[in-house]
């Protein structure tokens, strides 16, 4: 009877995603939906063409290259975001784990508050910061540094990347912090006693033992940012669109929900495969066992 209950819970929890998968095998015919199962949507995403669409020097030999290009662009942007977030978050997590004795709860709450406050508002704040009539431009003008507003701040991929870094960095601190807290302080003492300097000790003990946290943080940031919708919509402009915008366009503007569903699923599959490959390549299981020991 336990299994029946579990099956029911899983079915309810997965119902939306199951619906998405089912729809991706149907096709849009004008206003109606043809319910014959087919791979046509998926095929249209990889259908080759003789004519190449060149994007950033990469030729795409596809009949409908937009989803593939946007997916690749989103993956690259998320990768940049993830790497920067890790570099920014690690020292902060280290600070929390090794340097803060008093007021630790206060620090943790300070790091947490942005995570719980409105994502929409935090992204909107960047629009105010970077805008043509924004805080940076008006600030610099009133200080007399520049004469007219800089127009390269907002509505481009860089603005999207900066905003995403800011929005997701707190998400990365916590897993790294947890793995740093778990590092056995005796090991650090032993390393110092055996003659390791500060850097050698960090590189040989602390960093390797905190890698599981770094890897979880990387995935926690990479996976959701690929499909982010709010940030590219608000600060991306025409040049900063990502795959999330393509899904929205297919559903609402082009009224081709089945193709939109297929794009969503391909996106999630690609992310899952990339993450699986990444975990396999870094030997995540082994790392975790070592840190737990």
């Amino acid at each position: 009877m336990g299994y029946g209950l579990v099956a029911l819970i899983l079915l309810v929890l997965l119902a939306p995603l199951i619906a998405l998968v089912v729809l991706s095998f149907w096709t849009q015919q004008g206003f109606a939906i043809d319910k014959t199962p087919t791979l046509a949507n998926y095929w249209s995403l990889i259908q080759p063409s003789d004519k190449a669409t060149v994007y950033f020097g990469i030729p795409f030999y596809l009949k409908n290259p937009v989803p593939a290009i946007l997916l690749l662009k989103s993956l690259v942007m998320s990768l940049v975001v993830t790497i920067t977030v890790l570099v920014v978050a690690y020292p902060m997590a280290y600070f929390l784990a090794f340097r803060v004795d008093r007021y630790k709860v206060l620090w943790l709450i300070l790091i947490t508050i942005p995570f719980w406050t409105s994502y929409l508002l935090r992204v909107f704040a960047w629009k105010i910061v970077l805008g043509f009539n924004g805080a940076i431009n008006s600030g610099l003008i009133s200080l007399g540094v520049i004469d007219k507003p800089l127009d390269f701040l907002l509505y481009n991929p860089v603005a999207v990347v900066i905003t995403l870094i800011h929005a997701w960095v707190t998400f990365a601190i916590l897993p790294i912090y947890v793995s740093l807290e778990k590092v056995d302080r005796n090991l650090l003492e032993a390393a110092s006693d055996l003659g390791d300097g500060r850097w050698a000790r960090f590189c040989r003990i602390t960093l390797p033992l905190s890698l599981p946290g770094v890897i979880s943080a990387a995935l926690l940031v990479f996976i959701p940012t690929v499909g982010d919708y709010v940030t590219p919509t608000l600060v991306g402009g025409p040049g900063g669109t990502m795959i999330g915008n393509a899904i929205q366009t297919l559903f609402f503007k082009q009224d081709n929900a089945p193709l939109g569903a297929a794009v969503s699923i391909v996106m999630m599959l690609v992310i899952a495969i990339l993450c699986g490959l990444f975990l396999w390549a870094v030997g995540y299981k082994r790392l975790r066992e070592r840190s737990a020991a």
Binding site: V6, P114, T117, S118, V178, S264
Partner: protein, 276 residues
């Protein structure tokens, strides 16, 4: 030694400034006597707040958000209690699989969930978009947070208390009502608050699943298109920020108070650290 300490501390201070500076601009400009969000600041005014208070559409959106947030947080927490007990006590088979499925909304992009719900609710179940559809989606979104909070609370409970209760003749339900529930109440309150904040601030699901009645973030997003509405957006945004900050601090305070019993590593964290 001293120098390294201060370098890292300086970094931490800069980090906090980076983290908070953009957001603090919203309340800053909301009190500025100017229709544009620009420097230099002109003077202090409350007129943006006055204009906002007279906006009936905004008050309606606020009421919608309060209704959705309250229903979603109560229902999610009510569902999470049995789920969390089943998962921590290993009463269910395949509890790892169930837990990862519950955690899915944390890793699946909201836009995918939004369109998935749109298909399920509108195309398959033929439900018209309304506050009900938003509430349903928010329950899915809140479930991971609620289950995590309750599980870490349950983890810290002494199992012998429940054993003693059933040894002394209490039924399962009686034990739950008289022992388990009172002991996890801080977790329950914290879960209610967290779910409420999550739902109250959520935009993407609400945007795709709202019919004619917008929630507050959806209303706010609609206002962003009109430059002359910027001051009231700033005022409204500032109030939302303050409200969620107060709720977060309150929820953290309740959760951490007398949680000394649960000394697991993740118990101190507001989010699940190992969802992957």
């Amino acid at each position: 030694m001293k120098r390294r300490y201060s370098l890292l501390t300086i970094y931490a201070a800069f980090f906090l400034v980076f983290l908070y500076a953009p957001t603090v601009l919203l309340p800053l400009f909301s009190f500025n006597d100017n229709t544009f969000a620009v420097f230099p600041l002109k003077g202090f005014t409350l007129r943006h707040y006055e204009a906002m208070a007279g906006n009936i559409a905004m008050i309606d959106a606020l009421i919608n958000s309060l209704v959705v947030g309250t229903i979603a947080s109560v229902l999610t927490t009510a569902m999470s209690i049995p789920l969390a007990i089943g998962l921590t006590r290993r009463l269910l088979p395949a509890s790892g699989l169930v837990l990862s499925t519950i955690m899915l909304p944390l890793v699946v992009p909201s836009i995918v969930f939004a369109v998935a719900f749109l298909i399920l609710l509108v195309r398959i179940m033929n439900i018209e978009l309304s506050l009900l559809t938003i509430t349903m989606a928010h329950i899915f979104l809140c479930l991971p947070f609620s289950v995590m909070v309750l599980m870490s609370r349950l983890d810290g409970l002494d199992p012998s208390l429940e054993e003693a209760s059933s040894d002394l003749g209490e039924t399962t339900l009686g034990t739950f009502r008289r022992i388990t529930l009172p002991l996890i109440i801080p977790g329950v309150i914290s879960s209610l608050l967290m779910c409420f904040i999550t739902s109250f601030d959520e935009f993407v699901l609400a945007f795709f699943l709202s019919g004619t009645q917008p929630t507050l973030p959806v209303f706010l997003y609609g206002q962003l298109r009109f430059p002359n509405k910027l001051p009231s957006v700033l005022a409204l945004g500032s109030l939302i920020l303050v409200a969620s900050t107060v709720l977060v601090v309150l929820s953290e305070f309740i959760r951490r108070r007398d949680s000394a019993g649960s000394k697991s590593d993740t118990a101190d964290l507001p989010i699940p650290a190992n969802v992957t």
